[in-house]
Amino acid sequence: MWGIMRQRAACKAYHALNLEQGIRAIALRAFSSSAKQMTVRDALNSALDEEMSADPKVFIMGEEVGEYQGAYKISKGLLDKYGPERVVDTPITEAGFAGIGVGAAYYGLRPVIEFMTFNFSMQAIDHIINSAAKSNYMSAGQISVPIVFRGPNGAAAGVGAQHSQCYAAWYGAIPGLKVLAPYSSEDARGLLKAAIRDPDPVVFLENELLYGESFPISDEVLDSSFSLPIGKAKIEREGKDVTITAFSKMVGYALQAADILAKEGINAEVINLRTIRPLDRSTINSSVRKTNRLVTVEEGFPQHGVGAEICATVVEDSFEYLDAPVERIAGADVPMPYAANLERMAVPQVEDIVRAAKRACYRSR
């Protein structure tokens, strides 16, 4: 069970591998282009790989992370590289292994705990919140918990009610947790590296449908010391008529909606939140002060959602600047149905965002 650790020599060859990976990504593209492309899956894999090779205290634990190469292949190749002591396959014991991760973090290691989906994190939510998030406070700074809980979050395709919930709002409410939601490959790489290096517990909400999507990526992003700030949103598209905030998969939809709106003369600004907690209130507010209108988009349940918090924060800080009520787009207030047409209705689509933006601009019919 505890095999021999791989020779460190193999790891030293890593930096060469890094570039190789980037070049491999190019080679795989059917079309030639000067910008490199990378899938979110590769981005996450490379981030984990680099962080594990940089710090021997980082280890991965979860179901199927080792021999199965990851339930969604995110940890592919890591078992071969780092050995079973550092890529630990667990029995089906979310509460148990999440707690083990927290205990290991208390005592000095830097675990990355994978939940097969965040729906299963509900079995371990006591550990995420009570023994990870609250510990730095309860111990008055003595015990910090440098742990990352990661896994796919939100709706996938046709997986039914118990596999489709979005947990951004629940975890985003807890003081002591940092909650990240990447969209593109650059986000995925940068935020995961920042999360692993962060001394606090981080909930890293990925999205299963984004794993296979590829995004253009610059050399800077491929550098092994690249990371993104936690707590800072990114303005994906500048505009002046209406602000659309989104995170994770909805950023893609918002960008598509912005293209459609542009044809109708509405210049939308799209903000990729990147971090749900601590929320980048200043970026959101300065954007609203510029455009005077706000549409929030999220995939999760509407009540007490991320959009509700953004609306409240904008009303508190920038009320005089609002020219229209805040529009909130969220998933339908129902458990996710299975039938494909119903599922499509239960999750926000591009048309919903376009309609909401037009309503905010008083342009709807």
């Binding site: 069970m1 505890w2 650790m5 910008a35 940089a54 021997p56 205290k57 280890f59 002591e85 550092r86 667990t90 014991t93 509460a95 148990g96 292994f97 999440a98 707690g99 083990i100 927290v102 205990g103 290991a104 973090a105 208390y106 005592y107 000095g108 290691l109 006591d126 550990h127 009570n130 023994s131 730095n136 406070y137 309860m138 111990s139 008055a140 700074g141 003595q142 015990i143 910090s144 440098p146 940092k178 650059e186 999360a195 290096r197 962060d198 001394p199 606090d200 990526i217 610059s218 992003v221 010391s225 690249f226 990371s227 993104l228 700030p229 936690i230 707590g231 800072k232 990114k234 601590p278």
Partner: protein, 436 residues
């Protein structure tokens, strides 16, 4: 009380497979009757095991040595008078002092609570001191202890100063957690007390994780690490899912941990026998591949003997052990508990088995120390406890600014860069505006 009918025996699950079973069967086929086990005057001399007819675990790894087996070996080898004693004078006085400290401290907590200086949920450890002292006094500073809400005495035994614990209970800023944790959340990084958890069962995976870290440090980081973790929890917790999950993983990965069950027969008002299908908790160890030992938790010397072996096993890398300590809490579940459901006769019975009185008797009978020396210790402890109350009283309450502190280790949320500094202080910091 229903459980008086059952015998309490220390079980050797590997009796059948052991090559020594032949000679053992002559020596040890004596089932202890209730009267000889409970209220037994001679302490620490009777550790008998019984060969059970069927041991389904016998086919399991013969390398796992049952605890009581080895202890019995030692006893057989020991010769006459002096070496028959289980402790030296110094050890005896250390144990005595620790138990008296635990008792005096908890009694003072009760007083302070009723005077309004302490508030919220306070769970006292009176009566169970033998378990804490028996185990924790064997540990080094680097070893970890993880406990439940009944954690004052675990923290004290591990070395957290009484002053700091009392201040924490009063909610003052000089407490071990600056008043932010409280009675149920005693943390000390210096003494490796990893909490204090209010949810039962929550501490078990955390302790397993700390044991995982010890093993990881040894095997992956190649450090010289033989640190052991002790997880303390009660009988009620043994019906919780996390307990079983961790027994499985600890045995699977041979983690250096000892699971110490403080079976005081009551989970608030729920009797252990009403809540558990098979009340003999030690049996759950062999089901997962680790030795399960039952020991009289009102006798610190017996607990200590079992602990020496269990901790030694973990330190040597032989894996986890489950130790069930039969003990009793003299007070209610918490200071808010009227304690009406427990039979007064049961309470009286256990009061006669007070671990402190028993140790005192042992020390005096075996002439390890004089009455005067023990009295001096008691007096010293009284002074320590009084001093801790005074200190706590005089300490300031936390400043208002403390409310928002310590939520994050890295509050500005930008993370720590590879050079170890906060990234937002680095002028070359990328803001994610990489041109694409």
């Amino acid at each position: 009380m229903a459980c008086s009918a059952t015998t309490r025996i220390i079980h050797n699950p590997l009796a059948i497979s052991s090559s020594r079973s032949a000679e053992k069967s002559d020596f040890s086929c004596k089932i202890l009757s209730p009267s000889s086990f409970w209220g037994s005057a001679s302490l620490g001399k009777k550790l008998l095991s019984v060969n059970k007819a069927i041991s389904p675990i016998s086919r399991r790894s013969a390398t796992v040595v049952a605890v009581s087996d080895v202890v019995k070996e030692k006893k057989l080898k020991s010769s006459s008078s002096v070496s028959n004693l289980l402790i030296t004078k110094e050890e005896g006085l250390v144990l005595y002092e620790d138990m008296v400290l635990g008792r005096a401290f908890e009694d003072m907590c009760a007083q302070m609570y009723y005077r309004g200086k302490m508030f919220g949920f306070v769970h006292l450890y009176n009566g169970q001191e033998a378990v804490s002292t028996g185990f924790i006094k064997l540990l080094k500073k680097e070893d970890c202890v993880v406990s439940t809400y009944r954690d004052h005495v675990h923290a004290l035994s591990k070395g957290v100063p009484a002053r700091q614990v009392m201040s924490e209970l009063f909610g003052k800023t000089t407490g071990c957690c600056r008043g932010q944790g409280g009675s149920m959340h005693m943390f000390s990084k210096e003494h490796n007390v990893l909490g204090g958890f209010a949810f039962i069962g929550e501490g078990i995976p955390v302790a397993t994780g700390a044991a995982f870290t010890s093993k990881y440090k040894r095997e992956v980081l190649k450090e010289d690490c033989d640190e052991v973790t002790l997880a303390f929890f009660g009988d009620g917790t043994c019906n919780n899912g996390q307990f079983f999950e961790c027994l499985n993983m600890a045995a699977l990965w041979k983690l250096p941990i000892v699971f110490v069950v403080e079976n005081n027969l009551w989970a608030i008002g729920m009797s252990h026998l009403r809540a558990t299908s098979d009340p003999e908790i030690w049996k759950k160890g062999p089901a997962f591949g680790m030795p399960g030992v039952h020991v009289d938790g009102m006798d610190v010397l017996k607990v200590r003997e079992v602990a020496i072996e269990a901790v030694g096993r973990a330190r040597r890398g032989e894996g986890p052990t489950l130790v069930e300590c039969e003990t009793y809490r003299f007070r209610g579940h918490s200071l808010a508990d009227p304690d009406e459901l427990r039979d007064p006769a049961e309470k009286a019975h256990y009061a006669t088995r007070d671990p402190i009185t028993a140790l005192k008797k042992y020390i005096l009978e075996n002439k390890l120390a004089s009455e005067a020396e023990l009295k001096a210790i008691e007096k010293k402890i009284d002074e320590v406890v009084e001093d801790s109350v005074e200190f706590a009283d005089k300490s300031p309450v936390p400043a208002r600014s403390q409310l928002l502190e310590n939520v994050f280790a890295d509050p500005r949320g930008f993370g720590i860069g590879p050079d170890g500094k906060y990234r937002c202080e680095d002028p070359k910091f990328t803001e994610g505006t990489a041109q694409v």
